[in-house]
Amino acid sequence: MAVLLIAEHNNKELRPFTLNAVTAASQIDNEVHAIVIGQNCTEAAKSLSELPLVKKVIHVEAVHYENFVAENFAPVIVKLADNYSHIVCSANTFGKNLMPRIAAALDTSQISDITKVVSSDTFLRPIYAGNAFATVKSKDAKKCVTIRPTSFDSCESSGGSAPIEKAEACEEFGRTKFIRREEIKSDRPELGTARVVISGGRGMQSGDNFKLITSIADKLNAAIGASRAAVDAGYISNDHQVGQTGKVVVPDLYIAVGISGAIQHLAGMKESKIIVAINKDGEAPIFSVADYGLEADLFEALPQFLEELNKLNTIQK
């Protein structure tokens, strides 16, 4: 049986994590169908049909789907569930909110936030904030799975031409009313979801020196992080703290500058795809987890780094 992927979108475009979720879905079964539920979301359905891994798109429209209310979405999926062995969605706030509602309606024990597909019924998932990993096997006939988007590559986004089928909307739930959404627009991406994070530690020596980091962050469209030592020293506010007691981040690129690498800090970033460490002390523990280590004085290295970045004609953002 096929896998049903629930697409996340804003009625116009797919949200980027949908592409990661498609990859995960395709690892469970080749036959990936994707559903887009919304209002005036034809464009999103079209984008979905262009993903080569998607074999069929189901498109459901109704006014009450405009704002992605889980109580309205769940019955649509439940109605279609008979045709599918798996229902998959990304484990961000959209999927976290929605999937358990579907799973309970289907009397299925959900598997949340998987980082690896071991087989069609067995998955790897982090527990205890990533301090341990559990391999779990679902005994349910129908499996509801949410996937950690940063653990899967995004799929190819063009070249496909899956058929788009319309499906009927369900009745409105009625007792939940969407009021408003305030998207927090910041010049900088959120620390928790940024693709690139650049962090400074005690080695920055002062809050002023963080502007060296800011200018590189601007260039790379990166979020700014910090070690607890830098926060304790008052260089930067504690909402930037990465680590066990701060935020746990899993960006594609993590650049640690002047951070020695206390375990608390490592706990917060060691899942990053690529780690770069810039530190004067060649023995600093941070080098033991870094893919690329540069033993250098950060006050020389950072301006050079910016200069080199400026030389590049393209930068992925």
Partner: protein, 539 residues
Amino acid sequence: MSREAMEYDVIIVGGGPSGLTTAIKLKQLDSSLNICLLEKASEIGAHILSGNVFETRALDELLPNWKDLNSPIKTKVKKEKFLFLSKTKSLSWPTWLLPNVQQNHKNYIISLANLCRWLGEQAEALGVEIFPGFPASEILYNEDGSVKGVATQDMGIDKDGNKKDSFEPGIDLIGKVTVFAEGCRGHLGKQLIKKFELDKGKDPQQYGIGFKEIWEIDDKNHEEGLVMHTAGWPLDNNTYGGSFIYHAENKQVFLGYVIGLDYKNPYLSPFDEFQRFKTHPVIRKIIEGGKRISYGARALIEGGFQSLPKMFMPGALLIGCDAGTLNMPKIKGSHTAMKSGIIAAETIFESIKENKDLSIFEDKFNKSWIYEELYRARNVKPSFNWGLIIGIIFTGIDQILFRGKLPFTLKHKHADHETLKPANKMQKIEYPKYDNVITFDKTSSVYLTGTNHTDNQPVHLQLKDPNLPISYTLEKFDEPAVRYCPAGVYEIQKEKDINKFVINSQNCIHCKTCDIKEPSQNINWVTPEGGGGPKYGNM
């Protein structure tokens, strides 16, 4: 501001072996007594750290049927070794030549933290009200100057001393008798000793800092019930200290090091001595291939008989290592702490029922085996002032030939904060780099302790003079706090060529070493918000 007050028959400050024993014994003597026990840790046992080879003598008196009560006392000592280490070699000392006090064949290898958890359950079952997460922060006095009780800490104060939304005022706990059982260098005990001059005519108290790591080791290196001690390397002849290696259950070894805080060289780093110690071939062989699972450190009492303060005062008793009942040559303090708790309970019972003065404590104490033990042990520690070799020879004569009955008492001459020599007169010590296999840095070690303190609360390590660390201690002693603190709380940080003394109080594992060793006694350890500090498991 008036605070809420609650009255009890007895208030006990501290949920370690002595405090819990007092509580249990009191309930055994009279189950109608209302007893309140305060503990600053988030649960009983979470701030307890000890070797521990346990002598059951006091427990046999307290709970004779302890074997039937599912106690965590399981691993009997089966074999003993004592080694002298040089940098690469080791010399095994025949056990029959060890003084009696260092023979352990009737004892058990235990986790004192687990023993305390279990004692806590026994106490609660008897109706003792135990409040973990509530530090006693202040002593309350009656108008006549006698101790009236204690106040618990206000919760929800920000770092500038303002009340947060979550502010919860402390309360006054008033007892007919208050028992202070905070452990070594209790911050209230320290105040009582001063106020009531309990140490008048006594030698200055002596302390050590003890480190402990728990390792899960390879089956082939593990010998459950083996107790091993070492002296010598990496310490020099003039520094008092040694190690313990106890093979406990579940393939664990309790590995530790104790260093006298009367060391002289400000460049000495007790933490690094301990890390370096593990690289000795004999030790490395045991832990290689294993995994370090816990770390912790705590100051301990070494002064013994000569330094033991008077333990009673109007309205209160000072017991266990809050006073200093540890038997140093025996390297044990749990049984004596518990015994002092039993005596305290008997004293309080008579005081409440028969209106006797608390001074009867002293007579009871002097007639008990604890007095005898401490008296006989009294000359060992001071003899090491002559160095390790003479110390050992003297101890042999004193303990084996005379069984501690030599007709004189050696004195402790200096308090530990007085012993440091100026940095420019002493040699720097280069410690090896950590390999992250056998040896580790401080931060990754502290991480294992589970230590945390709520953000945004006043710094609980108070400087009497905030300028002194830079203007004097750095200049004269190269700021030894950076090295003696086992948790990396203190740092000297250069900012634009200006030195700053940084206190990372969140890291504090409540060992009290700074309060003891700071040369000018400039650091005052006070209780942080309740529940803060380490969360030791089976330490």
